[in-house]
Every structure is written in C-alpha cells, then in structure tokens.
Amino acid sequence: MKRHIAPFLRPLITLAGLVGIWWLLQWLSGIPSYLLPDPPSVAAALWHQRDLLAWSTMTTLTETVLGLLIGTVLGSICALGMVFSPLMQRWLMPLLLLSQAIPVFALAPLLVLWFGFGMASKVVMAVLIIFFPVTAAFSDGLRRTEIGWLDLARTMNASPASMLRYVRLPAALPAFGSGLRVATAIAPIGAVVGEWVGASAGLGYVMLNANARIETDVMFAALLVLAAMAITLWVLVDRVLRRVLFWAPDTSAIA
C-alpha cells in the first residue's frame, strides 16, 4: 500500500512546498502582481483560460511529438549510417556539430520565414534541437558493443546484417534510450522557441501575448501547463523505455 502511494505523493508534496514558498515570498516581499502573480490568481487564470490553454497545449504538444518522432527517426538513421560508413561519419560529423553550434534561437526567425508561421517551422525547430542527442547517444551505443559478443557472433558465422540485427542494435538500445530521454526533455524548447519568434497558436504564443498585455497570471498559467506537459511526456517516454528495455540492468536499486 505504502509503496503504491509514495510515488504519487512525493511529487505532490514537493509541488505543494514550492507553491508555498512562492506564495510566502510574494506575500512577504509585497512584489506587485504585475511582476509576480500570487498562486490563487494563477489558479484562477488556469480555470478561466482553460479553453485557450487546452487548445494551445494541443498545438504545442503536436509540434513537440511530431518533432520528437521525426528527429528520432532521422537521428537513428544518421547514427546507423555513421557507424557503418566511416566516409559518412567524416562528412556528417562536422554537419552535426554545426547544427549544435548554431543556437536555434538565432536560426528561428529564418526557419519561420522558410517554413511559414504555421506548425512546420516549429516541428523543424524541435527536430533540430533533438537530432544531436539522439544521434550522439545512439552512435556511441552502436560503437561500444562488447567485443566478446561480436567475436561470438563472428565464430557463429553471422553476416554483418544479422550481427547488426541480433548483437549491435540490441546492445545499443540502452544508450539510445538515454538519448531519447534527453530529447524528450528538450523537444518542447524547440516548439516554444518557434512559437516565440512567430506564430498564431501554441503555449509560447499565449505566453508572449500575455506578457505584452501585462497578464502575468495567464503567463504563469501557460508556463505551468507547459511544464506539466513536458514532464508528462518525459514520464511517459521513460515508462515505455523501461518496459521495452526491461533486460537492461537498472543498478540504482542495488546501491
């Protein structure tokens, strides 16, 4: 019983504590509400703007998930290509690094002009942001297959294809999982950055507008919803990965 409740109770207690500190700070310092709204007014904004927030969340969530899917597929293909073709590795690696060296924020205004103010530019932004962690983690995983396993496969006369299918790929999955977890956590950033520089929908758009209208309560409400969305998405991906990679030892419990 206790074990079942704890995982839900702990984050709630943490959350309640944070809200308490926020409220206390706001109350003690007397910061005006246009600088820092108090929790009740943010709660009220959450309720009154629920339609707008729900609709905006759907937009941002769709952008994030699409970006995550496309970015993961592209990143995986890229990682596989780099591991199996040194030539590709030599040509792709600088490109990959370049994609990370250029801040998406600087690129965002251009992407918006190239792909329009609609959803496409936000998806591209999310893809750009998550491409690197997926590729890097997966290609590292593919490269670090235990030598013994490969030797064994070779003695068993495995073809390169079946070596990939039965040895390298499964062995690289835990690393791929780590990459995907990082990607999930940062993908919403891409979507929101895209909405920030030009959009007509989404949570970033709501925040930008609320900020300009001095509706800090709505701004905070949207921020909370965005955080909740990002955390939920991450927890979901984490759960799925744990289930799929059940055989990868989680040694954290044996400490």
Partner: protein, 320 residues
C-alpha cells in the same frame, strides 16, 4: 530576435556626463537606438543634457513591452512606451504616469505590398495579417478592419514578431500592422518592394501619441524631469534646424546606423517629433481612453490626471 535580445541587454550606452556632479537619469528606450529617439541622442551629443546638469544613461530593452515594467520596478527612472500601452498598464495597476511626449502622431500603420491582394482594408477578409507587438496592436488592427466592414474573426492574425519586413517580402503574410510609416515602409522600398500604408487615424482609431516618456507616479514632480523636458525641447528645436548635422552626430555615435536607409528614415521622423514635449493634450488622452474602453480592451477609461501629467521645462543647474 534573440541576437537582438542579447545585444540589447548588453547594450548600455553611457552618455557624456556633465561638468560637475550632474544629476543622473536612466532612460529605457522602447527599442534599439533608432531615429525615433533622435532628440535623446542629440541632447547627449550636442550637450543639451549637460547644459541642464543632467547625466542621462540610455539603455535599450530586451523587448518592446518590458521598458515600462522595468521603470515601475524602479530599475530605471524613465521608460519610453506607447500611449495605448499606458492604458493597459494603468488597468493592471502599474503605477506609471506619462510626463512627456516624444512623438505626438501615430506611427503605426497597416502596410500591404502594392501589387498584392490587399488594395483596401476590406480585402483583408480571409487573409493573413501579421503583427509584432501583441495587446493593443491587435485591437487597433481589429478596429481598423471593422471600420472597413470586415468581421475581425475573418482575418487570420499571426504574430510575426520582429520579422515584419521579411514576412512581407517572403509573402508569408498579406499585410502587417506594427509597421511604422517612418521606418518599415522605407525598409521595404530599399528591398525593392513598394507598399501601401493604411493609417489607424483614418480608419476608426483616434489619433494618439506613438512614443511617450513615463515615470513612476511618485517621481512625477521630480525637478530633474523638468530639466529633462527642457533639454528635450531644445534638442528637438535644434534638430529641426540642423537635420543633417543631427544625422551625422547620430551616425558617429552609432556607426551601425550610418546607412542611407537610416538617413531617409531619420528625415521622415523629424516632422513627427513633439516640439513641446512637456505639454499634455488632455482631450487626446481622454478620447483614446474612451475608445479603448468602448473596445473592451480596458474595463473603464481612466481619469487623465491618473495616467498623465504636464511637465514644465525647467532651465537649470549647470554653471557656465
């Protein structure tokens, strides 16, 4: 946009201080240094601030909606903002008052490329209209659209942020509001695209002051502000007499702004400057408040005395 943010955050522009311990004032601009704030740069360069024993520090903001909040929070003495924004601020209890005007005509306009689908505002039906500053500008746009007999819901509004010119150039939007008649339209022309402007004051919006100076309510009677207004007034008068020397001063202090395009914009801006910056046009402030209240953007029109004061220029301070 972010490049701009970072730049502006770092961009503190100290001005030459007065001879003796001059009184300091910090001003948050509405934007990166540009011809709209010409009197400030000239007052610094030509010594009008120093003559009134003021050392004025100009700071560019990270985005156009934050300066008044920064001033309200006490991080700056003066902020530049827009008259329409003043009502929003007051409605949210931000304790600021307008004490001087920089530009006393609207600059904002809807612009549409000539040769594009928008010949009249009525053509905006089922078209895309970009905007850069959310809040009041959406309402201005809606009032303008409604004056042409189009239901605002029939126009798709897109926040194009700082990409006003490029969004039009790439035809991502059919028209934009937030385009200044002294700026973006010339920028478009410089890129080979001519555009047709639609002015708010000709399409259902009362005339207003595009750029105003605001300060915390408690600081409204501060003697430094009278001297600030005096310096501003002298600087503006000087500018109108010496437009080219003025641009040379500006280009020398801000080399990035020394292009022919900015010079054209500079010349188009001078006639918009308020020659009596401290004067308050009560009727204009009352009318615009009533307009915003009628459009339900603010719950009720505020008393003008609560949001704006007149400031007499006070000569002063510096020893000869």
């Amino acid at each position: 946009m972010i490049a701009r943010c970072l730049l502006t955050l770092l961009l503190c522009l100290p001005c030459p201080a007065g001879a003796r311990a001059a009184d300091t004032l910090t001003v948050i601009l509405d934007w990166l240094p540009n011809p709209d704030e010409a009197p400030l740069f000239i007052a610094a360069h030509e010594g009008f601030f120093a003559r009134h024993n003021l050392a004025v520090r100009l700071i560019a903001p990270s985005d156009a909606s934050t300066p008044p909040i920064v001033a309200a929070a006490g991080h700056a003495d003066i902020a530049i903002t827009y008259q329409p924004q003043l009502y929003l601020l007051a409605a949210h209890g931000v304790p600021l008052v307008r004490f001087a005007t920089l530009i006393n005509t609207p600059l904002d306009s809807i612009i549409a490329p000539t040769g594009g689908p928008i010949k009249t505002l009525g053509d905006l039906k089922r078209r895309t209209l970009g905007f850069a500053v959310p809040g009041v500008e959406e309402v201005l746009a809606q009032a303008m659209i409604a004056s042409a007999g189009v239901h605002p819901a029939d126009v798709r509004l897109v926040n194009v942020n700082f990409q006003i010119v490029s969004a039009l150039m790439t035809r991502r939007v059919d028209a934009t509001i937030s385009a200044y008649r002294n700026k973006e339209i010339y920028e478009l022309r410089a890129h080979g695209m001519d555009a047709r402007p639609f002015f708010p004051e000709e399409h259902g919006v009362p005339a207003y002051d595009e750029l105003i100076f605001v300060t915390r309510r408690g600081m409204a009677g501060d003697p430094r502000l009278g001297r600030f207004v005096a310096a501003l007034q002298e600087s503006t008068a000087w500018l109108l007499d010496h437009p080219d020397q003025g641009f040379a001063d500006f280009a020398a202090d801000y080399p990035a702004q020394s292009s022919q395009l900015v010079h054209t914009q500079w010349n188009a801006t001078l006639c918009r400057l308020d020659k009596s910056p401290g004067l308050l046009d009560n009727a204009r402030y009352r009318t615009f408040g009533a307009f915003l209240a009628a459009k339900k953007l603010i719950p009720a029109a505020p008393e003008v005395a609560d949001i704006a004061v007149q400031t007499e220029p006070v000569s002063g301070g510096a020893a000869p």
